[in-house]
């Protein structure tokens, strides 16, 4: 199964190995790091969940199986209406993110944009992850 961002209100970008994603219409902010960032990146670029899992198994043969984690991510994204199924395969799926980490971390979800914008990134930001993770 392949997916795509719901519409132009879904904005995302990779920054230093982290996928930042916003649903502008609903004011929800998501962050995916490490192995999860790679799953989300490839998913948003139109690669199928099967292709992503296969690539993962080749890259990390003895590592964790990404299928369960991919299901969790997809459940979150589909229930939030962040992605929709692609009607057909893209002629040229976008680039893949180089696999560097097979650590899966949960997608962070912040559903109150006002609240995270009120947070001072210098004084209240987490010293390891920075805004919007609170210290």
């Amino acid at each position: 199964m392949r997916y795509q961002p719901r519409d132009k209100d879904i904005v995302w970008e990779v920054s230093e190995g982290e996928v930042l994603l916003i649903d502008l219409s609903r004011g929800i902010y998501y962050s995916a790091r490490q192995g999860t960032a790679q799953l989300v990146h490839d998913l948003m670029h139109g690669h199928s969940s099967e292709e992503i899992a296969t690539r993962w198994a080749e890259r990390f043969p003895s590592g964790a199986d990404p299928k369960a984690h991919l299901s969790t991510v997809l459940r979150l994204f589909t229930s939030d209406g962040l992605v929709t199924e692609r009607g057909q395969s893209p002629a040229h799926p976008g680039p893949i993110l180089e696999l560097e980490s097979n650590d899966f971390t949960a997608v962070e979800r912040y559903d109150d944009m006002t609240e995270i914008f009120e947070m001072d990134p210098i004084h209240d930001g987490d010293l390891e992850h920075g805004w919007p993770v609170h210290n």
């Binding site: 132009k8 209100d9 904005v11 970008e13 920054s15 230093e16 930042l20 916003i22 502008l24 902010y29 962050s31 944009m113 006002t114 995270i116 914008f117 990134p121 210098i122 004084h123 930001g125 987490d126 010293l127 390891e128 992850h129 920075g130 805004w131 919007p132 993770v133």
Partner: protein, 355 residues
Amino acid sequence: MASPQLELLHCATAPPVEALERWGRLVAEVPVENFDYHAQRLLPAVWVNLKKASKSFPDEARLRGIHRRTWVHNKRLTAAAGSVLDLFASHEIPAVVLKGLAYNEIFYHDSGLRPSWDFDILVPLERASEAITLLEEDGWRFKEERLDPAERMEHGATLCKDGLEFDLHWNLMREARNPEQDAIFWREAVPITIDGRETLALSPTHQLFYLLAIANREPHNRVRYLLDLAFLTRQLGHEIDYQRVPEMLTERHIASRLSGLPLEEIGLEQLKEGLSPTIFDRLWSQASGYVFDGSHEWYYLVYPLLDYWLHYRGRSAPRWSVTEYMRRRLKVESAQDFVTRTLRKLARIVTLIWR
């Protein structure tokens, strides 16, 4: 060490390894927690430069967080600006995007690098009333009093919607509000794509002119504009007519704005050469730096008199006598009110000098 803001400018623009050394020295002396708001606004650019040299440096996560926060906010602004541009395009109202919105696209190429509070769009003066009507129908509201663009009392107004702010300009700048002064900006505007929409931006030469004009208007934001100037000239310097820019500043009586600007910090000091602003220019450069709200005693009457001379004297639209203009500008109710207020202002000035 230079002021923290200037040092941050170097941390954002110096070769990355040198910037990293400067950053280490700076935060050893002034902890990040002690940076003021205006210094904090330079931090995303510092992070982008430092990470070219190393993945790990003091306060890396905090800086990364500020970059991330800037990216999120700028994406929200860009989406809102896109809706406004769609609205204008559907009624064939031309639009020039200004400041952060344009800079992110033209020379930063990174939506997280320059924190913006709002976005700015210029429309032609003769279409501004129509643009305001459309915006109000779309839910935008004036932040302060409603202005009539035809009166040209200001160069634009701030509108608000859904917690976001937007500066609608009908003149490029407060300092030069005659329609013929803006004509060249429209004539030489260049295409730009914002959030997938085709629109316009100032030409590189006019970007430089505009940045120089506004950089010293807001002293607290001066270094931030120096950063914009550094990126603009590095990336588009070959397209800029450097001789024309001081001429344009002189024509608009704001050449002395350059005198207090530390252009040497970014290698643009040659722009100051040969400028000889008159007393009138010096006064206008200073007085027009403020939104006239009657609270700046030093420029009480100075700004309105110069403004009348430059923008209303002998003009038919609007055809105002100096008395009529003063009545509107100062919101004077009677001759007695005017005299009383003037005397109060003078008393305050004398008190200030005495102290």
